[in-house]
Symmetry: C2
Subunit: 192 residues, 2 copies
């Protein structure tokens, strides 16, 4: 789970978990790419809010409700979903600091959710950022699931570069994963 | 915005806003219907978590992170989205205690989001529960938007019963809005 902490606690987060902090950066890149797609009427894809269980709320007079006790919950679905070219899109964005992506970094709930989406005719995949190599790959959930079922514990960057598809990164948008989707899921010859 | 308060604060909510509390009940009916659809592999539609801005988090030793200051944020999209029969589904569920549903009860951001989904080929609508009459209606976002643009301030139950489509309510599922979607958006003769 990636968490958008407010400014006040960012320091603590970096202290306790450097990886998580770097993870937010990649997530922000995806979010900015989605803003670009939306602004240009290309796609409508959003990050879901982080699920939080609220326990206590105070209602100060002449002021908005203040949550004073709450906890992060485990998400039952993925971080991102939306619509592109009339199709339902659903994915999880992850990153790794080594040349391997361990399968345990994605919850079984999320894998099952993506397989369900695939079964229902949606486009379901993972986007994995290999930070050391500065390379981003898109891997269809079926390919991911087959590998996992075969008994592997992780997928290497060399294997994902063959099985998945490399995602172009640049400036507009930062992570052009819809171009990769065109290649993998749509007949791009017809799209022009 | 509908809010899922944890048990500890439910009493306060009822005290401050009875309507909001009743609203949660209808939302729960939709959530249970979605569980039914998912369990039976009919559709994969989820409620998005309520967006919360986290300001302060404590990290007690040997205990999970505790959020000690946070605020509810205004959602930029709708409460519900997912996939049904390969199509992207997006909607907002609302309710009213009178025979009128005031347009101001839906934010302009949410209307624009639904219009964008419609433009991109998704199925976008509102589900409105008229509690006094115990009747639920589905209204396509284009019809809603046209009415709003015409200068009306609200839509009456008699008008929505002609312009929209009544949703069957029962036990399995509680709110059978996918049957209504079949009628409105799919050629149900082909579906059997």
């Amino acid at each position: 789970m990636k968490i958008n902490y407010a400014n006040g606690v960012k320091k603590d987060v970096i202290k306790t978990s450097k990886i998580k902090s770097l993870g937010m950066l990649f997530e922000n890149q995806i979010n900015l790419s989605n803003e670009y797609y939306l602004t240009n009427n290309i796609a409508n894809i959003h990050k879901k809010p982080t699920p939080i269980q609220v326990v206590k709320v105070e209602y100060p007079k002449r002021s908005r409700a203040k949550i004073t006790e709450a906890y992060y919950r485990t998400p039952s679905t993925t971080d991102y979903n939306g619509i592109y070219k009339g199709k339902y899109i659903d994915f999880e964005a992850k990153e790794t600091n080594s040349n391997l992506f361990p399968f345990k970094n994605i919850s079984i709930h999320q894998i099952n959710h993506l397989l369900s989406v695939n079964k229902m005719g949606g486009i379901a995949f993972l986007i994995i950022f290999f930070r050391l190599f500065n390379e981003v790959y898109l891997l269809d959930i079926k390919d991911f699931s087959n590998l996992k079922d075969s008994g592997d514990k992780s997928i290497s960057i060399s294997k994902i570069s063959k099985l998945g598809k490399k995602v172009e990164t640049g400036y507009s948008p930062l992570v052009n994963y819809l171009k990769t989707i065109d290649n993998v899921y749509f007949d791009t010859n017809k799209e022009g």
